[in-house]
Symmetry: C2
Subunit: 353 residues, 2 copies
């Protein structure tokens, strides 16, 4: 795992054209790496004694690292830092939190998202086909991404015919465990054109209500609230977003994100994907990287990987999956959505050239 993290840092430094000597602090996100993970990774890079913060926010850990790093640079505390996410999930099962009684009784994340999907279908007439089309689109995008874990595009028939995990979500509609790392350099210095601007980054946590009120709802108060703040801070609206990397841990998650982030009206997320509006060449390219479903979901690394994709897209380095009109990009990650705490963490960040 330390090797993975070091590789991501090295590549980010190379892309930014700087050396470790300019880096003043490291914000390292992971959930399962053990103690002082960032320090262990710095060893590979030649530790220089800089401050290291290891942080955890479940699936939103990587984007929380970006949020923290951005705040530290924006406030003038540092000029140049690295936000790193790293996770190795291939070596064992994820242990549930000891006090997550709902999960122990069966209300795991796939079950919860499945119920959200069922609710959405009932309320708005969303179809199984529409859900599956998210996976079709994202695996097609992933097939063009050399960093994706799953590079085989799937047909609608394959997605629908796959093994059922939690009705209506089939295997290919659920992200799987993955190993991975991603890093970005965040700096207040102007360094030429290989750079994008972070217009806003907002972190929020859920308001605990109850399973009945929130856990099984098709609504996501947290994403709406955090997204609204991010738009305000960035001075843009959903209509300005050219591409977005959103939290499609399950296909319904992406459909909910369309709605909660204002890409389409509530209830029309299914139609949005079916009409091809979220395709790479659609109105608003969503998960051009392949998303969590195809690129993979190494928990603490995901949010940083999303930012990498937006960086590549905005700087026209996305190769075959390049989105043509890519001037403003958004990332959205949701984490720790165990029912017994309502929602955990959510980060929305907005970037522009």
């Amino acid at each position: 795992m330390t090797e993975l993290g070091a590789e991501a840092c090295s590549k980010a430094l190379k892309s930014a054209g700087i050396t470790m000597n300019e880096v003043e602090a490291l914000f390292c996100s992971h959930s399962f790496g053990g103690r002082v993970v960032g320090q262990r990774i710095l060893r590979f890079l030649g530790t220089r004694g800089i401050p290291v913060i290891n942080l955890e926010n479940a699936c939103a850990g990587g984007s929380s690292a970006i949020n923290m790093a951005w705040a530290a640079v924006a406030s003038g505390q540092y000029q140049t830092v690295i936000a790193l996410g790293v996770e190795q999930m291939s070596r064992g099962l994820i242990p549930p939190n000891a006090d997550n009684y709902e999960a122990a009784l069966g209300l795991t994340l796939p079950a919860k998202y499945a119920m959200r999907a069922k609710r959405h279908m009932k309320l708005y007439g969303t179809t199984e086909k529409q859900l599956a089309l998210v996976a079709v689109k994202n695996t097609e995008n992933g097939s063009l991404n050399p960093y994706a874990k799953n590079q085989i595009p799937l047909t609608l028939e394959q997605v629908l015919a796959a093994r059922m995990i939690a009705e209506p979500l089939t295997l290919y509609q659920c992200t799987g465990n993955a190993d991975g790392a991603a890093a970005v350099v965040i700096t207040s210095k102007r360094r030429g054109n290989n750079q994008v601007r972070i217009r806003a980054s907002v972190l929020g946590s859920g308001r605990y209500t109850s399973i009945k009120d929130e856990g099984l709802s098709a609504d996501d108060e947290l994403a709406r609230r955090v997204g609204k703040l991010a738009y305000e801070l960035a001075g843009v609206g959903p209509e300005d977003i050219d591409l977005a990397e959103v939290h499609d841990a399950f296909t319904i998650g992406e459909i909910l994100a369309y709605e909660n982030l204002g890409f389409c009206p509530v209830g029309e997320g299914g139609r949005f994907v079916e009409e091809g509006q979220s395709k790479r060449n659609g109105r608003l390219a969503v998960n051009a990287s392949g998303g969590l479903i195809a690129r993979g979901h190494p928990l603490g690394a995901t949010g940083v990987a999303q930012a990498c994709e937006v960086f590549w897209q905005l700087t026209k380095q996305a190769g075959e999956r390049q989105v043509e009109r890519a001037r403003v990009g958004l990332t959205h990650t949701a984490g720790g959505a165990t029912p017994n705490i309502g929602s955990g963490a959510c980060v929305v960040s907005i970037f522009s050239i």
Copy 2:
């Protein structure tokens, strides 16, 4: 564990005379709590959706939370935040980091500190008695601390006669696992006299060298470097410190801290404790709380507990263990000192009335 954390937050809020409604963010330190620990704790307090950062820096996690919280308030990002540390270690063994080969081969922390002690004895003539006197002093202090895990004062004979853990360190010279939580409110608002000033907080990580160069040395470059920066930032020197809470995970650790933080010249730490200079009524009261040895060492909570003790001492709320002349206090925590990464994290913070 969530209950422990919630209790600490509630008590800190009560002490500060504010409600959760004024708290804008939570910095939550732990090493073994699982995912989204801070959010789970907020549930008990009535979650309001504020940003939560869960962070890990091994034994220095709690003081890293204070460091981050202070930076966030000092930079104007927030006005009022909580820094919380929480750990429950009674429910199982601590799993070693998977890549810590030295520990797997026997170079665990007790062994490492024991070798540092042996080195100190050889270089400077430090005695077993001097080492043991640290535990005598700290258990005496702990016996006056209602929050201490070990409240029984030990005699020199008891400490020396205890079971040998790693020569020359006997059982009572090593901190044990503990459950615990501690919280502080950090605010830029003036709120009367029940408040102390954070004059400085500096976080650093080690410079990897090799076991030969650093791991077994009696020196601690990291603590000296971080301490020096903290003194500069605070505009004070070691001679101004009235009391200090330092990282006595093992008795030799406290002796090294005296020297590395400039309380006494290098090599004279043994004499410093033997002469009673670090007693509560000595020249510079060290670990008036009982330190890690008597108060206990719930990993991620320790750094915050140190700050609580300094707060109580500076505001004359330390009861029977009150240090008379308490105007400037210092905390020092070292974490993640596994040999294969040199040293991990170290935080030194300085507080004054």
